[in-house]
Structures are given as C-alpha cells and as structure tokens.
Assembly symmetry: C2
Amino acid sequence: MNREHVQATVTVDLVILTIRDNRLKVLLIERGNQPFQGQWALPGGFIRPDEDIDDAALRELSEETGLEGRHLHLEQVRTYATPGRDPRGRVVTVAYLAVAPDLPMPTAGSDARSAKWANVSRVGSLAFDHADILRDAVEMARSKLEYTTLAAAFCPELFTVSDLRRVYEVVWGTRIDPRNFHRKVVGTKGFLEQSAARRNPLIGRPALLYRRGPATALYPPMLRRSDSLASISSAT
Amino acid sequence: MNREHVQATVTVDLVILTIRDNRLKVLLIERGNQPFQGQWALPGGFIRPDEDIDDAALRELSEETGLEGRHLHLEQVRTYATPGRDPRGRVVTVAYLAVAPDLPMPTAGSDARSAKWANVSRVGSLAFDHADILRDAVEMARSKLEYTTLAAAFCPELFTVSDLRRVYEVVWGTRIDPRNFHRKVVGTKGFLEQSAARRNPLIGRPALLYRRGPATALYPPMLRRSDSLASISSAT
DNA sequence: GCAAAAGTGTTGCAGGTACACCCATGA
DNA sequence: TCATGGGTGTACCTGCAACACTTTTGC
C-alpha cells in the first residue's frame, strides 16, 4: 500500500441501550487509562487483524454484557473520523447501536475502572466525541421504533403488550393510549406471536404473553406524534 | 499508539445518483490501475491527513462532478471493513450517498480510464464490494424518499411538480397518480416554495415552477405502496 | 377546436384517535 | 365488592386512492 496514504487505527464504539426502572439507559464505562482517564465513555475497542467490524462489535458487546448475540439487536450507526477526535493519533471509530432486554449490572472490563447504566436523559459530557455518538444513536433508535419492530428487542423472550408499549413510551418520552396501541400491534401481522402463557400483574387482569414475530418492518408505521418532546439534554 | 492495534487505510466511496432520460443513474468509473484494472467501480479515494471523512467525500464529489456542494445532497451510508475486501491490505471504506440534479457527462479522473452514467437497474458486477455498497445506498435513497424531502435534491434550482413526481416514479419504479401527488406535495408545508415563473411544456398547460423549501422531514410520510417492484438486478 | 399536460372537486375507504365499556384477577 | 390493569366496541376524523372534471397552453 502506498506510503502516502493515511494509516488510521480503527475502533468500534457501542451504544448499548436498555430499559431499567422505566428509564432509557445506556451502558457507560469509566476509563481506566489515558486519554480521558477517569471520565465516562462508551464501551468499545480496537478491531483485530482479520476481524470484520460487525464481528468486532459483537465481540465487544459480548465482553461488556456477557450475552451472546441471539437476543440482541446490533447495527451500525455511522463512522466518526474527525481529525483530533482522539489525542493519540488518527483514530476512526465505527459506532454501533445495540438494544437489549433488561441486563444485569455490568462489570468493569479490562480497560474500565467501573461501569454503570446511565439515564440517557441525564448523560453529561463524555470522553472523545461520545456525546455526539450517543445523541445520533438514540435518535436512530427513536426513529427506528416508528417503522421497524426494534421495540421488541428491548423486551425479554416473553413479554406483554404493556411491556412493549412501555418501550415506546420510555424511548419517545410520550404517552400512548393503551387500548389503541394494543389493537395496532396485535393487528400487525408478524410483529407478535402469542404464547400459551399469561402473566399476572400485582393487581388486575392477567395479560397474554407474546414473543417476537418474524416481521422486521412495520407497515403502516407507528408514527410519533409531533408533540413528542423527547430530547437528550447533553452538554455537547 | 500501541503497535498491536491494526492500522488500516481509510477510503471514501461515493454512490452518486441522478436521473437522466427518465432512468436512475449512478456514476461509475473504469479503473485505470490495479487492482481490478479495467473493471467498473464507484468513484472514491483515500482520505488525506487531517481531513475529515465528510470533507473527503465532498472533495471527491467535486473532483468527479465538477460541482460544489451547494446543490448536492451528501450523507453517509455505512462503513465496509470486511478483511480481504481490498487485495492490497486492510482497507476500510466509508460509503456516501450523493444525490444531484442532472449533471453533465463525467470526465475521466486521474485514476480512471473513463467514466459513465450507468442505469442502476442494469449494473452488473463491480470492483471490490461496490455492488453491495451500491445496493445499500440505493435502498437508502428509496427509503429516504418516503419520509424526507430528498427527492427535491434530484431536481435543479427550479422544477415543476411533475419533475418531482418523476423522481419518485423513477427511483421507486412505480406509477403515482399525478393529481393526488400534486395535492400532497403542494400541501406539505415547507416542501416546495412557489416561484414567480412558469414553464411551458411542448404541449399542454404551463406548470408553476417551485424551488426547495426549508423542510427536511415529510410528515405524514409519502409511503410506498407495497406493490413497488423496484429492485436492483445486480450480480452480487 | 383538439390534444395534452396542469390542476381542482368529490366520494369512498383505511387507519388512527378518543373514549365508553366489559373482563379477569387479587385483596 | 372494589381497585386495577387487560382488552373490545364504536363514533369520529384525517388523509389517501380513485377518478370525473375544469383550466391553459401550442398547433
């Protein structure tokens, strides 16, 4: 390869979203090394020789969450390559959005002092340009709820229609009419598959449990009302 | 930077779409150098030191089309990094989608023997993984027509509602009712701004000329009918 | 006047919103 | 029986599909 061409280090950064305590959460790690030592950042790492970026993202995800890919949604967001975004040199990072059901408390990895689930709405400044990446990834997730079945990726194997509705409400920051929502998602072919089981709430009528159906697209889409005020209050 | 970390060369590849002769066209170049010498490929090139990828994409676009960015839509599609995708070594490419009004015939660049506008529906195999990139970018464009004002980026400064409708018809490969389409786009606030001028067709009533409005999102979206059979017949 | 393309009116249907109402359970 | 969340029925409203109809030009 021609020596004139810029050589760059390639990393993968993950925006791992889940819902805990009726809040949208993102996994953050406290950096154990320079640069940005002691600051909060998105989990990520370097790609290995002969490793595809999708595989690198999967590997990092499994290292951070301990879960294998079966129940996890993972897709590329975009690539960030502004010169100077990493003080160590030319580092190009490919950002991934991961969506997972409620996960156990994270453990600190090799490069991290500690890890936590942070409220997306309360995330302040982050290391590198990770605040930008987080904002882009969350907007992508919000948008994808509209015309894909991504919401189901926030739910465990078996879930109720209410669980699914809460995903929309928490991610969008809106209220949705439970009755109309129920009809809409149950009536959308391939979104949900009814299971034999039911779940009893603490009080009230038991709810049918569903698992994810084969559909990935939602047609017609579940449009956000324009009065959805959801936004990240990040100090960019 | 730690020597264990993989160093990669970073390139930018462009999927430049336009409409000519009522067909969706993509700019292809015939490679003048190895590898894949003599084969058709997407235009692209290496990023420079201290150059952001968005700027690299803009620069390549201006080099290939001779146009500056004012009337051009340019956005990232995704990043391709499969090991072995470039026989010269580890090359990571960031793909961009560019949309432009009908452009002049391209001229061959430094690295290209020749260049042409190819019918998207008739593109066969391409160098590297460019057939994959083209497919992803075209699907992105088709999808973005639904919920953004991207269609106007295919039109020159002044255009008629019919021009805009032809964009949808050509990109989606469908027929759209001219009467309903007219009402929809004229009624969508911020999509079109009426100009004082009109244009006379060879035969028929003159049409009002519009320019792009400030809106970028389309709400409610312009949904494709599911019977749209548009697809690329590319030999991947 | 005629052909052709631009643009308007109108009707019917699909799907969403709002909300009254019924159902099934625990206490 | 009451409280609570699950789920259905229904009336209304919005917006698109379909298509008849009017308008404005060149020839």
